[in-house]
């Protein structure tokens, strides 16, 4: 399949989106350290190309599913920083009205189901949503994010197989960031690439550079077209790395500093910035403007979130059943 040609506007949009992901996470990190956010967080600095590359290849009506590490997925999908921030602040205005929290952010209206924090738990939901798309003759697909750690859990196997035999319009997107919490992938899996497991289900598997947003985008366009054409799922593996710890206050001593350093060399944002500058798609002056606009957006989101009303204690009792 020929590669989709990216316009300068699209490139800039991807750059902008990645930067928003990064700066959002950086702000959240400080807010968290300052004790202004409750709960726990799993951050995604370093994995922005994967989130943005995938989501940039989606249509408005498509859906994504996510994991315990969902912030960048949400931003890449277009869930507003405002409603995300409010959710992290546990406010009534949050995308889950304060009931979900960091690990369950999402907004079906924006094309993202609430994130599922039980590793692998989102895969059958994604397949089922894809089944509904096909059944209802909607031209849409589901992009299902999960980590390489999730590729060892039973429901991964069941969901990918079911999607495969039914040719469901879903793309299984494995963000292989080499670690599941402190556990290195090679300790828990004998194959080198998660994508090698695709063969077990008779579907295509592909591993690409997850830190190159255009590579990710092109791979998703390909897998997505396949899915839209009724040819079934693809197992797409994105090689990437998280710069931060696994969750709040993890210093990450199980990773060698050289390894972290080597991956920081491959920072998806810095790389893309350099490329866009070289391609003259991006001007240095524009860079500054983009950053400033993002900063403003985040400042506003934080300021609003802090002022927003908290849910009332008894609100805990509602939303259990639909009527």
């Amino acid at each position: 399949m020929a590669e989709a040609k990216l316009t300068p506007e699209q490139k800039l949009a991807m750059y902008h989106r990645m930067l928003l992901c990064r700066m959002f996470e950086e702000r959240v990190y400080f807010l968290f350290l300052e004790g202004r956010l409750p709960g726990t967080i799993h951050q995604s600095q370093g994995q922005e190309a994967s989130a943005v590359g995938i989501c940039s290849a989606l249509d408005a009506g498509d859906m994504i599913t996510s994991t315990h590490r969902p912030h960048s997925h949400a931003i890449a999908r277009g869930v507003s920083a405002r409603s995300l921030m409010a959710e992290l602040f546990a406010k009534e205005t949050g995308c889950c009205r304060g009931k979900g929290g960091s690990m369950h952010v999402g907004d079906a209206g924006a094309g993202m189901l609430p994130a599922i924090a039980i590793v692998g738990g989102g895969l059958p939901l994604a397949a089922g949503y894809a089944l509904a798309f096909r059944y209802l003759k909607q031209p849409n697909i589901v992009a299902c994010f999960f980590g390489e750690g999730a590729a060892n859990i039973g429901v991964f196997h069941e969901a990918v197989n079911m999607a495969a035999i039914w040719n469901l319009p879903v793309v299984f997107v494995c963000e292989n960031n080499k670690y599941a919490a402190s556990t290195a992938v090679e300790k828990v899996m004998r194959v080198k690439h998660v994508s090698e497991r695709a063969a077990a289900y008779g579907i295509p598997g592909e591993t690409v550079d997850g830190n190159d947003v255009e590579v990710v985008y092109q791979a998703m366009v390909k897998a997505g077209s396949r899915a839209r054409a009724g040819d079934g799922p693809t197992l797409l593996e994105l090689e990437t790395y998280r710069f931060a710890g696994h969750s709040r206050s993890d210093p990450g001593h199980y990773r060698k500093p050289e390894e972290v350093a080597a991956w920081k060399e491959r920072d998806p944002i810095a790389r893309y910035e350099a490329r866009l500058l070289a391609e003259k798609v991006l001007e240095p002056s524009e860079m500054t403007k983009i950053r400033a606009s993002i900063e403003l957006e985040l400042e506003t989101a934080i300021a609003q979130a802090e002022q927003d009303p908290s849910p009332k204690p008894e609100d805990c009792l509602t939303d259990v059943f639909a009527s």
Partner: protein
């Protein structure tokens, strides 16, 4: 045992005697005809020349509705539940099933952590309208094919739980469950299926019940007094409704009038009907096939001990299976499953003529 359950008073209405299996199948068929979004997922449910699921309930449906609406799945209970939940989120109304309730444990994460909680976690924006059918009850298949699992699911906020005892209720409740916006776990008792032919259960009751031709629904959350009585209240579900009725008939011959309440659904639970009955009879026995400790009967006893304690003239008793796995040998299984005789004996103990020394 026949149509004690014909709840429709208008005997002029058109209808016929049906088995539970026929009633369940009719419910599925009617809802599938009514609403295109209703689909079925499960193992062996639509295969040509196959069984119609483990207990023939879906026989003929793939022929009428096609394989895109009657989906035969791999043996993947977790994904069956999770795919059903995903499809429900996506706008369909899936009715999924496990061949034996015991396999629900495999799907428990998807049901309890996803289906039950997604509405809540989304702040009320989403709903997960799915039905998950599961046959329960001991039928000499041993420890892994005979459990009663209602209590596990009654304990999960966000799930509704139905457990009909007769064809009329089964049909009406299943139709309501399919139209409900929430996940409903729908328990069916193997010995009540009453199916004829190849998949007939040994030892099964030939339960039939009058079912009107005209469409009707049975709401979730309304218990039914299937036998009025003044001396003691028996609260039961599924097969145990029938055992309780047997016991009540025996007792009636000795002048003891037991009121039998068929709970029909556990979530929502019709507390008022149970409380009123207990306040009237002043004595309560809960009858369930599940293991005693932590069964749904414990919740009933606990609520009564809170809300009706001043009206009780006897200890609140439960008749349930002992706290053991389901044994294989019929002689042990018969001991394990609560019998009408055990109910009769327990009632006689509570309805003593002496004033109760403990009060």
């Amino acid at each position: 045992m026949s149509s004690q359950a014909s709840a429709v008073s208008n005997q002029e209405a058109q209808g016929r005697e049906m088995t539970m299996v026929e009633a369940l199948r009719a419910a599925l068929r009617e809802e599938m005809r009514r609403d295109d979004r209703v689909i079925l997922l499960g193992e062996d449910i639509g295969v040509e020349g196959g069984f119609g699921g483990a207990f023939t309930v879906t026989l003929g449906l793939s022929e009428e509705f096609g394989h895109h609406r009657v989906l035969d799945t791999p043996i993947s209970e977790a994904a069956i539940a999770g795919v059903a939940a995903g499809a429900a989120l996506g706008g369909l109304r899936p009715v999924a099933d496990v061949q034996y309730g015991d396999f629900l444990f495999l799907a428990m994460d998807q049901l309890a952590n996803n289906a039950a909680k997604l509405r809540y976690m989304s702040g009320g924006k989403l709903s997960v309208p799915l039905v998950f059918r599961a046959p329960v009850g001991a039928t000499t298949r041993g420890a892994q094919h005979g459990q009663s699992l209602e209590a596990f699911f009654m304990h999960v906020p966000g799930l509704k739980v139905a457990c009909p005892s007769n064809p009329y209720d089964a049909k009406g409740l299943l139709k309501t469950a399919i139209r409900d916006e929430n996940p409903v776990i729908f328990f069916e008792h193997k010995l009540l299926y009453g199916s004829k032919g190849a998949r007939k259960e040994k030892g099964g009751l030939q339960v039939t019940g009058w079912v009107p031709d005209e469409e009707y629904l049975v709401p979730l959350g309304e218990a039914k007094i299937v036998r009025p009585g003044r001396d003691i209240t028996l609260v039961a579900n599924l097969l145990m409704v029938h055992k309780s009725m047997q016991a009540a008939e025996t007792l009636a011959r000795e002048g003891i009038e037991a009121e039998v309440v068929d709970v029909r659904t556990l979530t929502p639970f019709d507390w008022e009907t149970v409380f009123q009955s207990v306040r009237k009879t002043t004595r309560l026995i809960i009858v369930e096939e599940d293991n005693l400790t932590g069964g749904w009967g414990a919740e009933v006893a606990a609520r009564v001990a809170d809300h009706c304690i001043g009206h009780l003239d006897a200890p609140v008793r439960r008749i349930a299976a002992p706290d053991t796995p389901v044994p294989f040998a019929p002689v042990m299984e018969n001991f394990y499953v609560p019998s009408a005789e055990k109910i009769v004996a327990a009632v006689k103990e509570l309805v003593g003529t002496h004033p109760q020394p403990w009060m």
